[in-house]
Amino acid sequence: MKKPPAIGKTTVRGLNPFGGERAAQLVPQARLAGPMPWVIAIMIALTVIAAAGGLALNNVASNARADLAGGATVQILEASKQERNRQATAAEAMLAEHPAVASTRRVPDAELDALLEPWLGVGADNEAVPMPALIDIRLRDDATEDTLNALRGLLVSAAPSARVDAQSSWLAPVFSAISSLQWLSAALVILLGLTSAAAVWLAARSALGANNETIEIVHLLGGTDVQIARIFERSIGFDATLGGAVGLALGLIVILFLGQRFDELGSGMMAGGGLDWLDWIAIAIIPLIGVAIAMLTARITVLGALRRLL
């Protein structure tokens, strides 16, 4: 029997970390044929949609607040049309002179009629249903309570039937609802993140179980826990990258479709719900965070399981 071949002097050990494609071969890869990338894709798509919804709502609220912050409305609540017109004219003239006021606009009766038409019908009798006169005011600064009180004081004598309100107060319940929806979307993003981590944990446990023999062999051949964990990390990382890309694409399709639908509404408020470039970057980062969570979960799961071996 001839001598066994000796390992050449060039086979210096420990120079090359066990990794890459060769190490990945140890765990059979199903890729898109397996459930993992699709589970991650669905999770990422839902997270992207929830995050985009939250960001859009934030933009709606911010833009609306900015628009309304410097706005106030004066209502002349007077039943007599003549007196109402007199007080409105006097109030508009006085307000225009006030240093806090940037501009005023009396809302024409025709515009008011158009606003009320859906409820009162065409040609409603203004005498039978007296409508207040409205003056739209743009202030130089935000409509603080002090400014509003100053305006109220100004109008007491000339227009005693005047009522001054900040425009933002009309939409306070809407802002409250938007805020609730924002919290909901944030909670959804967190829950979906946790669900993704749980799905990866289950997948890593399942992969560990399915490849238990192989892991034990590598372990007994001197493979370290980190080496073995890296194999699974890489495998799950590939699945998560595939799933993340598919999920991001699905999420973007839904976002763009919904964006188009909301654009078609032509609502002034919804028009402020577009996403800016920082929002798009945040959305693009979601799959990357998903991949990082998946790899970290796989690593922690595998290292935990390996610690049970000697």
């Binding site: 001839k2 390992i7 050449g8 050990r13 120079l15 090359n16 140890l26 062999i217 000697l310």
Partner: protein, 248 residues
């Protein structure tokens, strides 16, 4: 500690029990002299596989002391055990080849785990495959190999890293007598190059094939060593003098 104990492997009053059951190994004490050839015999259930598991660091004993290459491996932190495992070669009774890897990749596995570069392991792996007579089957998956061929791949994987200790659990159990003899000659060749070899077998005919070997006999978990040769092996009975040739 003498030089033998420093380089070799010493078991001192080792006991092993699984859970609350009775001990499967009791008061096992011996020293594996570097470069020697041992047969581990005993009836089924005598504790051979348990003893081998302790040898290839798959199990910690319940009591006693084990020193390996000068280190107490019982108290060694588990993160330092891989470097000791890389100095061992193991041929499992059931081969334990990775089913979805080719024969080549199975044999290359210990080198890859040890951090050998791809370019550097091609030749040694191919040479090793030739050496075990499977140069023409390097791309074959284990499922397509016969029992004897799988056994030889398992042996090639065990010896590719030039281990200091080779442990083989019933390596001839699944092959015909002719192949068994060939495999034994493979172990002898490796042993002549300085590797300590421990072969667990219940085939008494095999023992006669290696006249220089020492016999470790387990009976109900106890090692019989009436002459003390296992614990204090006489240098003349070992092949230590043959060590050192051919190490790369």
């Amino acid at each position: 500690m003498n030089a033998t104990e420093k380089e070799g492997i010493t078991f001192d009053n080792v006991g092993l029990r699984y859970g609350a059951d009775r001990e499967v190994l009791s008061d096992v004490s011996f020293t594996l002299f570097p470069g020697s050839f041992y047969f581990l015999t005993g009836a089924s259930g005598a504790g051979k596989t348990s003893l081998l598991k302790l040898l290839y660091l798959a199990q910690r004993p319940s009591r006693g002391a084990i020193r390996m290459f000068g280190t107490d491996v019982i108290t060694l932190p588990r993160n330092r055990l891989p470097s000791y495992r890389r100095r061992l070669g193991v041929v499992f009774q059931d081969f334990r080849l990775v089913p979805h890897l080719s024969a080549y990749d199975n044999v290359a596995l210990p080198l890859r785990v040890s951090g050998v570069r791809e370019a550097d392991l091609k030749k040694p792996v191919r040479d090793m495959m030739e050496w075990v007579g499977l140069g023409h089957r390097i791309d074959a998956r284990p499922a397509t190999l016969s029992g004897g061929e799988q056994q030889r791949v398992a042996i090639a994987r065990a010896v590719i890293g030039r281990p200091e200790l080779l442990v083989a659990d019933e390596p001839t159990g699944n092959v015909d007598p002719e192949m068994a003899l060939k495999l034994l000659r493979l172990f002898e060749s490796l042993n002549r190059m300085g590797t300590t070899v421990v072969v667990a077998t219940h085939d008494v005919h095999l023992l006669k094939k290696v006249p220089e070997s020492l016999i470790m006999r387990l009976d109900k978990g106890r090692l019989s060593d009436p002459t003390g040769a296992l614990r204090y092996p006489p240098r003349a009975n070992t092949q230590a003098g043959n060590r050192g040739d051919g190490r790369g």
